[in-house]
């Protein structure tokens, strides 16, 4: 691999690591359940995205042929992350977990159709 790709890959991995770290930092620093939910589920979207792009490039250049497994990882991550975040938030609303934001007026236990 040329020096250019090396630099590009390092940048991608560093950016990915940075965003994943900030996401985890959010989990530790933020103050209520709902805001904590944002750190790990979100900042990691871009963080993991960068890492996966780097992985795809490395294995496409070094291995034999295109490496497309990373697309699958992204896809499954994008399908499952919002569902788990939504379920966590709903469960928290149901249990009336303490919230910094004023709680919604609608009764939290009103069953949504599902």
């Amino acid at each position: 691999m040329s020096a250019m790709t090396d630099i590009l890959l390092s940048l991608l991995i560093l950016t990915g690591a940075l965003f994943t770290f900030v996401g985890s930092l959010g989990l530790a620093r933020l103050r209520d359940f709902y805001t904590r939910l944002h750190g790990p589920t979100k900042a990691t979207t871009l963080g993991v995205g960068c890492l996966l792009v780097a992985s795809a490039v490395v294995f496409s250049l070094e291995g034999d042929g295109l490496s497309l497994h990373e697309i699958l990882v992204t896809l499954f991550l994008f399908i499952t992350a919002p569902v788990s975040a939504h379920l966590l938030a709903r469960a928290a609303l149901h249990l009336k977990v303490k919230s910094l934001a004023p709680a919604p007026e609608r009764p939290a236990s009103s069953p949504a159709r599902d």
């Binding site: 940075l18 965003f19 900030v22 996401g23 930092l25 959010g26 620093r29 933020l30 103050r31 209520d32 709902y34 805001t35 939910l37 944002h38 750190g39 589920t41 979100k42 900042a43 979207t45 871009l46 963080g47 995205g49 490496s67 497309l68 497994h69 697309i71 699958l72 896809l75 994008f78 399908i79 992350a81 919002p82 569902v83 975040a85 939504h86 938030a89 709903r90 928290a92 609303l93 919230s99 910094l100 934001a101 004023p102 709680a103 919604p104 609608r106 939290a108 009103s110 069953p111 949504a112 159709r113 599902d114």
Partner: protein, 166 residues
């Protein structure tokens, strides 16, 4: 045609998914993938009460572009908000009135909201008219609701529910 191949789009995506899993494009993998893509929709037909049709591929592409850009932009915002410190955050619950009607449309909107950083869809009201969204930081909830409706809901309606357009 309808009965033999109830969900062509789903079958196609399953076949592509299979090829990606195998990570090879041999004829055997293609045949097996096509077979799976044909059979799985039958096994899961109860999850797909309505056929999925994409009415406006152009709008879909633009929507995906906006979505990708918002993930990048939102990630930077959330990272900045976390680093700046939690003391100055103004989290809020906002209620987004829904114009989308179908299950598919509503779940795609909820997923989009949850994937773009800074907002999580928390609950759908029992009458399916209102989506409760939690946001990490906002000083203008009304602007946020308008943004969600314009950026995500309007294109989703154009793509999946054109007959309901008012």
């Amino acid at each position: 045609m309808r009965r033999l191949l109830p969900h062509p789009l789903l079958s196609l995506s399953l076949t592509v998914l299979w090829l990606l899993l195998v990570n090879s494009f041999s004829a055997g993998a293609l045949v097996l993938g096509a077979l799976l893509g044909w059979l799985i929709p039958f096994a899961t037909s109860r999850f797909w009460p309505e056929a999925i049709t994409v009415r406006q591929p152009g709008v879909l592409l633009r929507f995906l572009g906006v979505f990708a850009w918002d993930i990048v932009r939102g990630s930077f915002q959330v990272a900045w908000l976390i680093l700046r410190g939690p003391a100055r955050l103004q989290p809020a619950f906002v209620e987004v009135p829904l114009a989308l009607k179908t299950d598919l449309g509503i779940s795609l909107l909820a997923n989009t909201i949850s994937l773009t950083p800074g907002t999580v869809s928390a609950q759908l009201s029992a009458d399916r008219q209102v989506l409760l969204v939690h946001t990490l930081n906002t000083d203008d909830p009304v602007a946020l609701i308008i943004e969600i409706k314009q950026r995500y809901e309007t294109p989703l309606r154009q793509i999946f529910e054109p007959e309901n357009r008012s």
